[in-house]
Subunit: 305 residues, 2 copies
């Protein structure tokens, strides 16, 4: 089995949507990425850090999906990273209520030896310094490095972020962030500018409007699945990255044609994520669910001229 290395946060999330609210539940970018990628039968490991308050049962629920958690450092005297937010009625706008970085300020990612030669690496949303640190520990020159980032780092660590962007193969970024990073309104122009910064593939996430893949002069569009109800969008972007990277790890084919499939896999996984609170749906996905949903994407998009 090909190896997927995931670096990201492991957190407590408390979420409020028009449909209800949760207490502290399992959150953070890494569990969403890992649980989503686990649908593709890959050998994966998470590099992260939690506090002494992080329940063993949460780690076990991750391990139950064949995800190696031995590189999730536990710092007993610290508290786990905590985020809480509230979605407005249209579900497209969310207000952050609390961001307690806690143990995250002590994070010093150590890639386990067995995963230094991973064929695919996902750098989840984290401080660019941490992401650069991880890249320096990798030993497989052919590894596909996928970077996810957020406007927070553009505002607070732009130079470090630009240095990381130079060193990765794929960037996933949302539309508003792509515009912010490049000062361009057109996503085509923004994608080209980001491409010129380093990554060979630029994935622009548009939430309920799907995602775009750019490389050189090529472009591909994946829609989001139109859904009756979006219960909770938390983690959808990370789940997308998990499906995308899971498919690429499984197939070990980094051509544009296969990236297109990966984009559809990411969109399909994201469509599950939003169906329940937090990662609940990902933790309980039936074996046939992904194949059925991929066919739904086929039906949704394919036509004959």
């Amino acid at each position: 089995m090909n190896k997927l290395l995931i670096v990201g946060t492991v957190a407590f999330d408390a979420i409020e949507t028009p449909f209800g609210k949760t207490d502290k539940i399992l959150g953070g970018s890494a569990p969403y990425i890992g649980l989503s990628a686990s649908q593709f039968n890959v050998q994966s490991a998470i590099v992260s850090v939690v506090g002494g308050d992080f329940p063993k049962s949460y780690l076990e629920s991750i391990q139950a999906h064949q995800i190696n958690t031995s590189a999730i450092e536990i710092i007993a005297e610290e508290k786990t990273f905590f985020w809480s937010g509230r979605y407005q009625k249209n579900m497209n706008t969310r207000d952050t209520i609390t961001t307690d970085l806690n143990v995250l300020t002590k994070f010093n990612p150590i890639v386990p030896d067995a995963f230094k030669d991973a064929s695919v690496v996902v750098l989840g949303n984290l401080a660019p310094a941490n992401q650069a640190n991880v890249i320096s520990q990798l030993t497989n020159p052919k590894a596909l490095i996928i970077l996810d980032t957020m406007n927070f780092w553009m505002d607070n660590a732009l130079n470090e972020l630009l240095e990381v962007i130079k060193r990765v193969d794929v960037i996933t970024i949302n539309d508003e962030e792509a515009r912010q990073l490049t000062c361009e309104n057109s996503l085509v122009v923004a994608a080209r500018k980001i491409y010129e910064m380093g990554p060979q593939f630029v994935v622009i996430k548009k939430g309920e409007h799907g995602a775009l893949l750019f490389s050189e002069d090529k472009v591909f569009s994946a829609p989001a699945l139109p859904l009756e109800s979006v219960f909770d969008p938390t983690g959808a972007g990370d789940t997308f990255a998990g499906g995308f990277s899971g498919h690429l790890t499984k197939t070990n084919d980094f051509s544009f044609e296969n990236m297109k499939r990966a984009l559809i896999c990411g969109s399909a996984m994201a469509s599950f994520c939003v169906e329940e609170f937090g990662p609940k749906r990902l933790l309980n996905l039936e074996e046939s669910a992904l194949a059925i949903r991929l066919q739904a994407f086929k039906k949704l998009t394919q036509f004959e001229l």
Copy 2:
């Protein structure tokens, strides 16, 4: 050749975008629909009204695209409908500066005898009373009637609008308007509610995010073509309706499979419209342009699992 009947406004538009501004140029829903549909070699006619100030050369430029303009009534002592607007920097928001209805308040649409049996009828954005009046003049029980409307009529003539919606086969409506009409946030639920109001096909336009087609339990998604620059979005929705209805008129096949193709044709035509001010690009489209752009949509969306 199959016949397409177009009912809509013929107007003067004055447009300001971040790229420049125009004086009064040819505008209104009907010219955009007609010019776009003319790419599909159909026999079409526009039913509309203009004032004595409307230049003969504008009518001739429409006629030059094999569009019958004999049912564009000229009321010499009145002025032509005038709209002016300004787009904000992101091009997604526009402010209306002027709406002078002028001659439009006198509009009493008379369908020419030769087009009462049209196989496809597009009711462009107009007062629902005018749209109902046109439907009553039609003689072909198998005609496909396509309705376009706007939030203005939901605010000001909701009951009349709902009566028209009952009598049409297809509705094209933008996402925010679909939400307003149904008080539903999910476009899937909104589309089902509109479907239950009468139309067998519900097309939801999402601007730069493409369009969705719903019928019964079926759904199809067409992206918009990602463009380097959107020069002027004026008329893009009408141009979409023109490409959509033009393809359906040419093929006379109203199946879901063919509606999918029609959606792609509409999106392709809309992608031309935004490339220049007003209908300029539609007036000067090279013969091979549409076929090339349809292939671009294929490339943009097609994948193998």
